[in-house]
Every structure is written in structure tokens, then in C-alpha cells.
Symmetry: C2
Subunit: 210 residues, 2 copies
DNA sequence: TCCATACGACTTGTATCTATGCTGGATCGG
DNA sequence: CCGATCCAGCATAGATACAAGTCGTATGGA
């Protein structure tokens, strides 16, 4: 056994994953004992995981009653999209003011797009989705603001859960998504934050899943 | 005894307060046992508080070593101010698009300003600061986006800690601050988000403490 | 002197135990 | 038949016990 990862960490990772991928639906009422039995540990590490999940907003703990997996609120998708737009747009605006940052960003994005194109060709949906997340994460990070970048990460997690919950619909074909990413990258290379903002707005509206 | 508030909640509130008001300086190494003895409870609730504080970014837990109060990073004040500007500006932009929201916002802000003016007259620094926080919180909430509003709250907490850490300097007199708030409110009443943005930028730059 | 190691103090990680709160259903009185 | 009450079962809150990791220091040998 490799105890570099504690039992509490394992419990946390497992439960969080089940929430994010939709195995544990919103509104489900779970208890510490359940998971303790399931994961073969005592209730203590499970409890720690619950507390952490509550702090991150995934669960609500009701004293002496149990833990409720927080359901996705009706407004959540709008709110997440608004927030993502805001952070990404502001980041590109900042990056565009410094030619070095803009160039580095464009270069990194080109690399990620290459990976995504490969994934499309090899029909590796997993890698495709991963590249998609990386693309936007990299954009958000270009604002050179750790707080906002971290916040953006939480938005991606929320979105991941939402897309897992709802039926996963591809309004457009994957290659359309790729083309939009390419257009976004061009706007960055051109240091045109306004064009980027307009393209991004369309991008997220048309394809709420990414 | 009124156990409506659990021991863990109390421990959390106390420790968090000590971090935010600077009693517990950044970089301090603390242990569960210390606080357990101090607060007269067992390690369990203290541990829960530590976990929660870590999840919220106030502490870093080192396995078998102790807990470190996370120091304020050198970039943090810039990052917090950038993020606050971003969220408030976006919120007002949204609110300005709906006349009802803008009117309600202007009205609420006027009320808060009244409180703040009273506080200034009675020299109640505490109430003055509270009104200040409320003013900006209300602005942020006008964006009608719960996720962003909650995020804004965390920014205020971070800022509170920073201003507690550094010497609290008032670059301008309190009444200048009040005048700026009044100007901001007028911009909102006029549904002029661009003017608001410009005023706010100056406001936070001149007075990094609020 | 220098280095390796053994030890002790301190810390967290996890399990377990007790007390208490909540809830739903059975029971009793009307 | 209906509502108040009681109680068993379940879940958590918190305390405690114990195991194990880490570091500083003392100690003994080369």
C-alpha cells in the first residue's frame, strides 16, 4: 500500500468524481456510513471528504440528517456561462495589452488546437474534451491573475457536472467547434480583444457544452 | 448552552476571524492541539475547521507537520482589485440594461449611503466600514448572478485581511470616499455603466482600502 | 571532530465510542 | 376514524484512543 495519499483524500476524490460525472445525482441524500462501508474505511475520512465537498459547494450537510448532493440550480447554466465569458474576455483584454503575453498565448493555443485536431481525427472523444478544457483554461490564465484563474477552474468543474447531468447534445459537429477555436486563436494573435469577445460570445451560446 | 451552533462552527468562526483581522499572521504555523486547548474542545471540531479553512484557501495543511496560515502573496492586492473591478463593472453593466434593476440598485445604494453619512457624523468607524462593504456588495449583487456575487464576497474577505495586515492608511479623508460613492450611485441612476466603470477605477486606485 | 543513528517530543490520520437529535410509524386515548 | 404521544432506528457531533510520520537533538563510534 502506498499511503502517500490519505484515506480522506481517496474518499474525497471518489465522491467528488461521482458527483461531477453524474453518478450521484443532484438531490440525492447520502450518509457517511454508506460511503464508509462502500470504500472500506471508517466514517472519519468520509466525514472529512463531506466537509470539503460542502466547502466547495457540492453538498449541503444537514445536522443529524444526512448529506444532500446539491442540485444544479435552474439559473446555474446561465450564471456559469456569464461568468466564464467575463473572465475569459477580461483575460484576453489584459493579454492583448502586452505583446509578449499575447504571442505566448497564441502559440500555446495553437499547440492545444493541434492536439484537439489529432483527437478529432483519431475519434478520441476523451482527448478532444480534455483539449477543449485546456484551451479555455489557458485563455483564462492569460489574464495573469491567479485568483481569477482559480475561479475559472471552479466554473469549469460546475460546467462539467451540468453537461454530465443533462443529455450531452452536440448542437454542432465537433469540427465546427474546432473551427471556432481556431478563429478565437486568430483574434488573439491579431491582438483584437473585441473580436475575441464577439467570437467567444457566439461560441459559448451556440455550444453550451464547452 | 445553546448548541444551535456546533462546536466546529465556533472553531471555524474564531480561527477565521483571527486570520482575517491579522491576529494570526500569514506564515504562522499552528496545530490542531493548540486551538483545541485554547477553545476547550477536542481536536475533532478544530480539525474540521482547519479543513474548511484550507478549502477556502486560508490555510495550507502539511501532513503530520502542522498547518500554515497562508501568507498574502505579493500579487494579491493587484489581483483582488482587478477582480473586484471586473465583477462590479460587469454587474452594473448588466443592471443598467434593465431599468427596474438599475432603479432598485440606485435606491438601495442611496439608503446605504445615508447610513454611511450618519456613521461619518457620529464618528463610528466600524459602521462606516460596514456600510462601505455593503455598498460594494450590493453593487456586485446587481449583476443578478449568484456565482459571481458569492465570488465577490470572497474577494472582500481577502481584502479585509490585507488591509488588516498592512498599516491601515486612509489616503483621503472619509468624506472624499463618501463623495465618490455618491458619484458612483449617480452614474448608476443615470444608467451610465461606462461612467461608472471610469469612476470605480479611480475609486479603487485612490483608495485601495475599500 | 564528524557522521550515523537512536530517541523523544510533537504532530496528524484514523478508528471507535458515547451522547444527542431527528424522523417515521406504532400505539393509545378520544 | 383521528390526532397526540412514545419509541425504536438511524444519522451525526464530538471526545478519546491509538497508530504512524517527521524533525531536532543527543549520543556513540570511527
Amino acid at each position: 500500500m502506498q499511503p502517500s495519499e490519505t484515506a480522506a483524500d481517496r474518499a474525497y476524490a471518489v465522491i467528488r468524481e461521482r458527483i461531477l460525472d453524474g453518478t450521484l445525482a443532484g438531490g440525492a441524500l447520502v450518509s457517511e456510513g454508506e460511503f464508509a462501508a462502500d470504500l472500506q474505511l471508517s466514517r472519519t475520512p468520509v466525514r472529512e471528504a463531506f466537509l470539503r465537498l460542502q466547502a466547495e459547494g457540492w453538498m449541503t450537510l444537514y445536522p443529524k440528517r444526512g448529506a444532500l448532493v446539491r442540485p444544479v440550480s435552474p439559473d446555474e447554466d446561465r450564471e456559469v456561462l456569464e461568468a466564464r465569458l467575463l473572465v475569459e474576455t477580461a483575460a484576453v483584454h489584459t493579454a492583448s495589452a502586452a505583446s509578449d503575453d499575447a504571442a505566448a498565448l497564441a502559440e500555446d493555443l495553437t499547440g492545444i488546437l493541434e492536439r484537439q485536431r489529432d483527437a478529432l481525427n483519431t475519434r478520441d472523444a476523451e482527448a478532444f474534451a480534455r483539449a477543449d478544457v485546456d484551451f479555455h483554461q489557458r485563455v483564462a490564465a492569460s489574464g495573469n491573475n491567479g485568483i481569477l484563474t482559480a475561479f475559472y477552474g471552479t466554473l469549469q468543474d460546475r460546467q462539467r457536472r451540468m453537461t454530465a447531468t443533462t443529455v450531452h447534445r452536440y448542437d454542432g459537429a465537433p469540427h465546427l467547434l474546432l473551427e471556432q477555436h481556431e478563429a478565437l486563436t486568430r483574434a488573439i494573435a491579431d491582438r483584437d480583444p473585441d473580436a475575441f469577445a464577439a467570437l467567444l460570445r457566439r461560441h459559448v451560446r451556440e455550444n453550451r457544452a464547452t
